[in-house]
Symmetry: C2
Subunit: 236 residues, 2 copies
């Protein structure tokens, strides 16, 4: 936790003092060994970053005076369109892409996504949010990404994706495709990433039909998690 | 498993028939639902890649006739020098970097590495090898990376690292350092990556004193796992 993410509800006065209990209190007390007077990096969700100085330390809560002065780091200009991964992978990927500055994520169905994944508790709003927050706290960011679930391939790809991809560089990661992933593109990207095992030909045809260029990262086939961070790092 | 990695011991004749039991048999039977006659991508450890055709399928083993025809993908020209991560992270990082073509890895001690990590069973030779093999099977590679353990910072950095880094681009990943990580360098690299929490000033001074240039990936602080794949993807 390189930043303590604060929410409006944490403030106990007009806007400078917060009271934290639960996970953040426990982290500051047990991992950071906070004492009264110590300062930590804090940020207001969807707002600015600054410093929190501990003013009171109790058994089950602590209070801080906060000064928020600096803007959050720049957003990575990408919409990530990801075939729903296995729940255990999903959690790590959400944390990772949140830490890498992705702010808009679609999780969509594809042929090789197991139907049972859509019933996972990992997709509950609170659980998605938890991973996104962990990513912001890791990266020292405050802007919460938005995750949208699209459990049907065809209506999503036909009716919604063209609008999402409009005026962006549209890429679909596809091992053994003809083009290498471009580097340092300096423009907004819509990046589609398939499931473990890849897209089926029908899906790739649909996507290329919409103007998505298939790109690869070399001869090697990476796990989705490594592929996503490698793609983002290469593109931006 | 995009490739079944074979070892010399698997061969039951001069060099074309293998007999597999255990994990690989189970994977081919349960996940791939292999039948006699089916073909799979196989590769000989440290050797060529080709096809294995199932010739016999038994309760606890299967046999394949293999033809090895193609060279393994090119090695990523990097020596990764990594402060020993938390054991659970180490396993995933080894799999990831093995899948990304890294062939030489040093795990070394640094101030913020918990001493207990050095006693983890994850560091046993067989356990390290297991993750490296999973990475090769993921990426369709055959060349097993070498992992070397260096539990003392100073003698490693002073006596051994200068030789390792000789004639390579020497970089140390360090958030908030002055230079951005270079892109697509087209030459061998020695890449030093610190622990969660980063190097202490003494360590960074030691490394820069040896000619390692501190580089960052932007304002954001990534987890070591995401940072390593992002760094490799940007450099090569």
């Amino acid at each position: 936790m390189n930043l303590i993410l604060l929410f409006k509800d944490d403030f106990i006065d007009g806007g400078t003092r917060v009271r934290l209990s639960g996970r953040r209190h426990k982290h500051l007390r047990d991992i950071c060994r906070a004492s009264v007077g110590d300062e930590f990096c804090v940020g207001l969700c969807d707002g600015k970053i600054g410093t929190g100085r501990v003013t009171a330390l109790e058994e089950d809560a602590l209070e801080m005076d906060v000064a928020l002065t600096t803007a959050a780091p720049a957003t990575t200009p990408v919409t990530l369109v990801l075939a729903l991964p296995r729940p255990i992978m999903l959690k790590r990927i959400l944390l990772t892409v949140s830490s890498m500055g992705v702010k808009r994520i679609f999780l969509f169905h594809s042929h090789r996504v197991e139907k049972s994944f859509w019933k996972s508790p990992a997709l509950k709003k609170a659980n998605l949010k938890e991973q996104l927050i962990l990513g912001l706290e890791q990266a020292r960011d405050t802007v919460l990404p938005k995750v949208e679930l699209r459990p049907l391939f065809k209506p999503f790809v036909e009716d919604e994706l063209p609008g999402v991809a409009q005026k962006t560089l549209s890429l679909v990661a596809h091992p053994r495709s003809s083009g290498p992933c471009p580097r340092y593109v300096k423009r907004p990207v819509t990046l589609v990433v398939g499931p473990e095992g890849g897209f089926i030909p029908y899906e790739i045809e649909k996507l290329t039909g919409l103007g998505f260029a298939p790109v690869h990262l070399g001869e090697r086939i990476l796990r989705v998690e490594a592929a996503v961070s490698a793609l983002l790092s290469r593109l931006f």
